[in-house]
Structures are given as C-alpha cells and as structure tokens.
C-alpha cells in the first residue's frame, strides 16, 4: 500500500463515507417510528439514550466532520491549483477537523457521562 497523506485522506474519507451511508439508512428507519405516533417514537428513542449510543454519537460526529472537511478540501483542489501546497492543505484540514470535533464532541461526551 502506498502510504502518503493523499492515500490516508482518501482512505478515511471512504471509510467515513461508507459508515455514514449505512448510518443514514438506519437513521431513516429509526426515526420512522414517528409514523406510529409520539408514544412509539419515544419508546424507540428511549433505547437510544443509553450511554453507549451517546458515545457512538460522538463517533458519528467525527465521521461527519472528517468527511465534510475532506470534501471541502476536494472542492478547493477542484477550483484552485494546489499542487505546491497539497500536503499543507491536508494538514490544515486535519487540524481543523480535530479542533471542531473537540468543540462539538466534548459537550456530547460530558452529557453522555453524566447520565440522563
């Protein structure tokens, strides 16, 4: 395998993308409980309030942020000639990803750990 930043970005983007597609269809099904009324919806949502799911929610957040930020990086590559600074662009994107994940993830983690 060819270990370059370009390959790593592609790998993470693809893995997060596939995970998100699977999550999407599951999400549509889960929220679909609302078709059975408020009680049915609340019953299903109650299952998802468990700490495990709240922590998985943070993983979901990081997948979304990574995939989105790498996608924005691709849009930049499409519109500008980034050849000379292609590596710096990747590192900058990665740093932003870590920062935003922390800003977004910490409140969720705190809530998950303190319980309902």
């Amino acid at each position: 395998m060819y270990k370059t930043t370009g390959f790593i970005s592609f790998l993470f983007r693809r893995v997060s993308g596939v995970a998100l597609v699977l999550y999407l269809f599951m999400h549509i099904w889960v929220i679909g409980a609302a078709n059975g009324g408020a009680e049915a919806f609340n019953a299903r949502m109650a299952v998802l309030q468990a700490p495990l799911f709240r922590i998985l929610e943070v993983a979901l957040l990081t997948a979304v942020i990574y995939h989105g930020f790498d996608g924005i990086r691709l849009l930049i590559v499409h519109w500008f000639r980034v050849t000379e600074y292609r590596q710096s662009l990747f590192y900058a994107m990665f740093v932003l990803f870590v920062l935003v994940s922390i800003v977004g993830g910490v409140p969720l983690l705190l809530f998950a750990l303190e319980g309902n």
Binding site: L20, N35, A38, N42, M45, V64, L75, H78, L108, L110
Partner: protein
C-alpha cells in the same frame, strides 16, 4: 459525469444542511423525545428544510456508494443494475423519510394520553 456533478452539488448543499441539522438537533445536548423534536418540526418551514435535506443526503449517499462500487473492477459491468437499484432504494427511502417528517404533527402529541 452527471453522477459526479450531482455528488458535488449535493455536497455543497450538505455542508449547509448538515451543519444546521447537527446544531439544531443535538445542541444543547439533552434528552431527545417527540416533544423536543416537535418544538421545531411543527413549523412547516422546518418540515420543508428537512425534506430538502433528506433529498440532498440521499442523492449524495447513493452517488457516493455508486462511486465506491464502480471503483472495483468486477462491479463495472453491472453499472446499469447499480444505477437502477440506487434509484429504487433512493425513492423508497425518500418517500418513507418524507412521510416520517410529515408525521411530526402536533395532533400526534395530543393523541398521547
């Protein structure tokens, strides 16, 4: 080519839609139930936004899955079946999802005793 263009267009739309969605649904973090969701979704404008969001995300997800599968050499001959299957899956998911969004009606709350 068209799949690629739709992929990129929905990507741009999703940057906005998804940011909005993550913020309004998950922050501040709290117990998620029907009454919390209905605060927002009772408003038909939010229903409209969510339905457009659903459309964009389904197109992007299926276009992405298509790209992933087409990269594999053994899958390339089945391009038409892949597109057909994606469209069917997309339509079913969209109809079901849109119905679900519309199901967030305040009257459903009143029905719970």
């Amino acid at each position: 080519m068209r799949v690629f263009i739709m992929q990129r267009l929905t990507a741009v739309a999703l940057v906005l839609f998804l940011t909005l969605h993550m913020i309004v649904v998950h922050y501040p973090p709290g117990h998620l139930d029907f009454s919390r969701v209905i605060e927002r979704l009772a408003n038909p404008i939010w229903k409209g936004i969510d339905i457009l969001f659903l459309l964009a995300v389904l197109i992007h997800a299926l276009a992405g899955a298509y790209a992933v599968l087409m990269d594999v050499e053994r899958v390339t001959p089945y391009k038409r079946a892949l597109i057909g299957g994606s469209i069917i899956l997309g339509v079913v998911a969209f109809v079901y999802g849109a119905m679900t969004i519309l199901a967030f009606d305040p009257s459903a709350l009143l029905a719970v005793n």
